[in-house]
Amino acid sequence: MLNYIWAGLIVLSLVFGMVYDINDLASDTYRNGQAFEVQVDPLDATSASSRRIPVRVHVDPAAFNAFYGVEANPDSTYDGVVIRNQEGMQLRFAQDASVPEPWATIRAETSERDNDLRGTLAGWSPSGGPAAVSFREVRFVKMRAIAAAALSMAELAVELALGLIGVLALWMGLLQIAEKAGIIHSVVRVTQPILRPLFPDIPKGHPAMGMIVLNLTANMLGLGNAATPLGIKAMEELQTLNEDKETATDSMVMLLAMNTASVQLVPPVLLVALMGLQINQLIFAIIIVTGISLIVAVAAAKLLSKTKRFRASAPAATTEG
């Protein structure tokens, strides 16, 4: 399943990227090489002879829409500067100006660092007046975007993983103490009767059950940072019971399903930060929904493990049962 989803994501992104780019080329979305007429007036007349002239750019929205074939709503004036050098005149819009599409894309593609839209200006006199501005040609936006996304996400993945080291080390250290002191064993004894039906292939008194309980408790209390190392520890314990180290056992899938359903009595910190006080109204709704999704997750993991297809793929240790 994951094989197909994974390959599907990659192949589909290439296909969609190509369709978008070919569509852009066919309809000439960015009007490559064509000049657009704007009115450019210097802010004060005294700067007319300098190399750098602060200007106000007037854009006629109707002309903009007709030229690009869009229904955008450009502001009618923008601040900017005209830079003059041997090669001619360059119009630079103010940084981070709220330009409409397709200018926003042109800006993103041609001026990554400064985030100011730049175009060459023709037929303009420093005393002010109409001028034709043309931008650098933009092609294959999506192709570039998917390549960039692949690279930056690969980097992000490493950052995320390495960012976990500290918390992982802290919890795995604490858990080592807990195990040696017999705490995990006590947790197992108390909770065994409740969780046993969900994890039938864990032998009685095995520490895996204790880790699972700790993981679920941390989840419930919204302690995401603590839940992850506990869940990983639980997985490691389950792996010691697994005959085939590359294939998930029924218990592993059950634990994973319970985690993805995320039983939460306390909402995650991030959501609290986003929603502010509004979160108080939502706690009840979240508890209902998360409870229902937990039931579905447990039922799905249980029932799917009984189907012919997934029973056949189960590691040897769990087939009886």
């Binding site: 994501l9 792996q239 706690i283």
Partner: protein
Amino acid sequence: MDTIRSIIEIASVFVLPLLIVGFPLYGLIKKVPVYEEFVEGAKGGFKVAVTIIPYLVAILFAIGMFRASGAMDFMVDGLRPILGWFGIPPEVLPMMIMRPLTGSGSAAIVLDMINQFGEDSILVKMVATMFGSTETTFYVIAVYFGAVNIKKTRHAVPAGLLADIVAMITAVFVVRWLFG
């Protein structure tokens, strides 16, 4: 309702310090060499983090490409009419698709919708409930299975996604029932 909520809130504040202090303290009473055992266990943290890197890279770069290609927008447009039949507002669709794939991406959607519709709007309540009641399924799979080098995930993906879909749809109706 309020007392239960405050009990939970207080518990969530105290659990962490209690565990962090309690484990070594109890270990000391049981005559465990706590410092040595802590260091011994903590060594595993680095190994686990490094082990999950390839799994995370695999999942995240594929999702990143998919988002950047515009395929996500296309899916949203395609599924819009189908949602209409079930009485699910199309505005929440990007959330339903993004939630299992990326945590930061779906948080961005919540933020974007707060800016667009205001915190009080029922649509924001729906997406916030979706965000709060589900997990980033593919990330959880990559991390948990990656940590123990499980490559064949069997029914984990269908079970996780089914729970997600049910949670999202339930969120729409529960919020409408409570606030609509």
